[in-house]
Symmetry: C2
DNA sequence: CTACACCCTGTAGCAACTACAGGGTCAAGA
DNA sequence: TCTTGACCCTGTAGTTGCTACAGGGTGTAG
């Protein structure tokens, strides 16, 4: 299959597919006589994996590790679980940060009495103490 | 005051201060004979404002708008409130996205039976359907 | 007088793409 | 047969918000 087909089959942009190849996440496929990339089902599987992991928020570095691990079927699942746990903790941290931020911002907004900028509490909040 | 003093007074890195100047967020200060940047209290106030807005998660573009608005004291607070509301909505969207992601990832992790990679549910989840 | 902490400019790097510019290829319709 | 349009190629630069050098100059304390 050509790059456009692979891309649409995985809801990926063509440029992104080429980018994944460039950074070594997706192996370079065979080429047609016209120098077009020709992908097989193994590429489709690998790209699906990458996309799914990305959808779950894993970084490309984590995806790279997961791909390496998934190639060694006899290994223990421990390392995979570890990467996922670390990622989950990171998501929790982000949610916590955003929730605290949300609270503070909504407090700032709540203080707005809709007058002029001169006595705008939102602007005032950001001024020097 | 010199750039290092301004930076430490606002918990900012020196490079970041220069960066803000480069992108036109902080006006270029006077220079000493030795070509050192010499800041006054107006710069301190402006940088404090920028940092506070950044802490609240506003993008630099939003900060730029807020700064412009805060310069025109007679204007209505409406535009300021609008920017803040938009930002709050964006934070809510992010929290929602992360929460959904968290749920899905924890489900994936929960299915891990700690065997080998061959029958790892985490890896399996990311394989082709 | 010599360390050492500070200052300067300018450029490159980070993540993870995205968007060109400037070309080549191929199948279908007039 | 020609040409239009959709696809493909490479390579580079842009995005956000900094951060980290490299390779210099300056100022002060001991």
């Amino acid at each position: 299959m050509k790059i456009g087909e692979l891309a649409s089959a995985t809801a990926t942009k063509v440029e992104t597919v080429r980018y994944y190849e460039k950074i070594g996440l997706l192996p370079p496929p065979a080429r047609t006589f016209a120098n077009y990339r020709a992908y097989g089902t193994d590429h489709l599987a690998r790209l699906s994996f990458i996309r799914r992991a990305r959808d779950l928020g894993f970084t490309l570095e984590a995806v790279r590790e997961l791909l390496t691990l998934s190639d060694d079927k006899s290994q223990s699942c421990e390392a995979v679980d570890g990467i996922a746990q670390t990622h989950l903790a990171e998501i929790d941290r982000k949610i916590g940060d955003l929730t605290a931020l949300r609270l503070e911002l909504s407090r700032v907004i709540g203080s707005c009495s809709h007058g002029t900028v001169a006595d705008c509490k939102i602007i005032e909040t950001m001024g020097p103490r």
